[in-house]
Amino acid sequence: MYSQKVMDHFTNPRNVGEIPDADGVGEVGNPRCGDIMKIFIKVDGDVITDVKFQTFGCAAAIATSSMATELIKGKTLDEALAITNKTVADALDGLPAIKMHCSVLAEDGLRAAIEDYKRKMGLITEDEMAKPHEHIHDCADDEAANG
């Protein structure tokens, strides 16, 4: 069901770990839904010089996290923000339909890390931060139902 690229990034994920003195940290997802992604970035000027991730989730979540970090390393913040979940999924030669939400998680994670950096730098205010996608509707509904 998974492409060879997904399996490659699942078995040999790139950029796993944390950056203790990260310039920006984004954490998205929810343990209830079975996936959490945490992404750490180092920024020099407006270039992302280093990136690491930690992910709790299925193979697709791990592979999309890994691919997303590869895609943004060495890119400017604007270039990184232009990356969508489709970019990540395409770079992995596609994901099964039921797993597309994992690629949304990766996009949200990147955005959250960049916005955290911008907020720390005073480039944006809390109000200007984008809302993450309702990336897992069933799970989000479930959350709502259970308060």
Partner: protein, 395 residues
């Protein structure tokens, strides 16, 4: 990695060669329709009646109480809808549990839409249903109690003997889904006071697409499949003759070899559970420690997700299953694991290994050997594990 180890026998089993040998002539030479009066038909008819006797003998029923179906799901559907529709004048209430197979739960949910009232009994931390809860929830509108013999995910064996007794005292029909239990534990429908029992061939080395519903003599249930007069007018459709022959042979073998199987599987299961829990921290056993199916090991590994574990095991040649959302096609983890009170994130990290006749001590030891590295690798990637490590450092 050319090693291949199958540890998902609760999902399905292979067909034993002795079973297949008995089936084969019924695809070719003995292909007759059992409803035909000429030789070919009579030959097939006699063979399915022999198989019926074997199924009856395995569960302590009369052959006339055994009906062949397409499998466990149809048997569950028929028992529940059939009893509900036939009993509409008496009442509209059905009692079941929160941990039943979807074949039971989704059937009950469908009946709810039609106006039936369903009580879904909770279970304790081991997955056990309390018979007193059954007794307390029976009303004069209760038509049916449907409680599984043993759970397919966590292996917990339910107190169906006590539940059967209560049902009989109260004059309520009792159905049990015994799909996972056949071949692993003694089942006698008479002493258990069971009115209907579902079973399925492919869970005990028989073919897929064949099962049976035991319906005690006198139990009123509506017909499910309408059409011809097969199965004494109660289940239309030309009989799946090779499947029925295979089911008969498989259940005969499964019950004849049960003591050895129980001994073998229990020994391997306990070795597997102990081996894993000794070597890996932050693991919990799901289901009852002793009142569980002999071949079932279900464990939750904190901080990691089940599908990642399954794929990693698959890469090492081990076939297993998980209650994680990502393996079910839905986004919620197993309803059984949630019902025993596991938090979502721990339910997502479950692994089910179900052993079978051909598994060996070497198979078990291999899994015990490779699993720690798989779990460790995934934990090293997990932010939940990192957070916990961080908390420890700060204490």
């Amino acid at each position: 990695m050319d090693r291949k180890i199958y540890m998902d026998h609760a999902a399905t089993t292979y067909v034993k060669p002795e079973v297949l040998d008995e089936m084969l002539p019924y695809f070719t030479d003995k292909f007759g329709n059992p409803s035909s009066i000429y030789f070919y038909g009579r030959e097939a008819k006699e063979a399915i009646e022999m198989a019926r006797e074997k199924v009856a003998a395995a569960i302590g029923a009369e052959p006339s109480e055994i009906y062949f179906t397409s499998g466990g799901t149809e048997s569950d559907n028929w028992a529940i809808k059939g009893a509900a529709f036939a009993g509409k004048k008496k009442g509209n209430h059905i009692i079941t549990s929160a941990i039943e197979h979807h074949a039971v739960l989704h059937t009950c949910q469908y009946l709810e839409k039609l106006g039936f009232e369903i009580t879904y009994l909770p279970v304790d931390q081991y997955g056990l249903i309390n018979p007193d809860d059954v007794r307390r929830t029976i009303t004069d509108k209760t038509l049916l109690i449907s409680i599984m013999t043993a759970n397919n995910e966590i292996g917990t064996i339910e107190p169906i003997s006590e539940i059967g007794k209560i049902a009989r005292e109260q004059g309520v029909y009792f159905h049990t889904d015994a799909v996972q239990a056949i071949g692993s534990m003694d089942i006698d429908v008479k002493s258990l006071n069971v009115d209907m029992l579902s079973l399925s061939g492919h869970k005990f080395y028989g073919p897929k697409g064949i099962g049976s519903l035991y319906i005690k003599k006198g139990v009123k249930i509506d017909q499910f499949m309408h059409g011809g007069a097969q199965e004494r007018n109660r289940r239309a459709s030309t009989e799946n003759v090779p499947g029925i022959i295979g089911l008969g042979k498989a259940i005969e073998l499964a019950t004849a070899t049960m003591p050895q199987r129980r001994e073998h599987l229990t020994r391997l299961r306990d070795r597997l559970i102990k081996g894993i829990m000794d070597k890996i921290p932050f693991v919990r056993l799901n289901g009852h420690p002793t009142e569980r199916l002999p071949g079932n090991a279900n464990l939750s590994f904190e901080f990691i997700e089940g599908e990642s574990m399954l794929l990693s095991l698959d890469l090492k040649g081990v076939a297993a299953s998980s209650g994680s959302a990502c393996t079910s096609g839905s986004l919620d983890p197993s309803h059984v694991l949630l019902a025993i009170g596991l938090p979502h994130e721990i339910a997502h990290g479950s692994l089910r290994l179900t052993l079978g006749d051909d598994n060996t001590e070497e198979d078990v030891d291999y899994v015990i050997e490779i699993l720690p590295d798989i779990v460790e690798r995934l934990r090293q990637m997990s932010p939940l594990f990192a957070e916990r490590e961080g908390e420890l450092k700060n204490v």
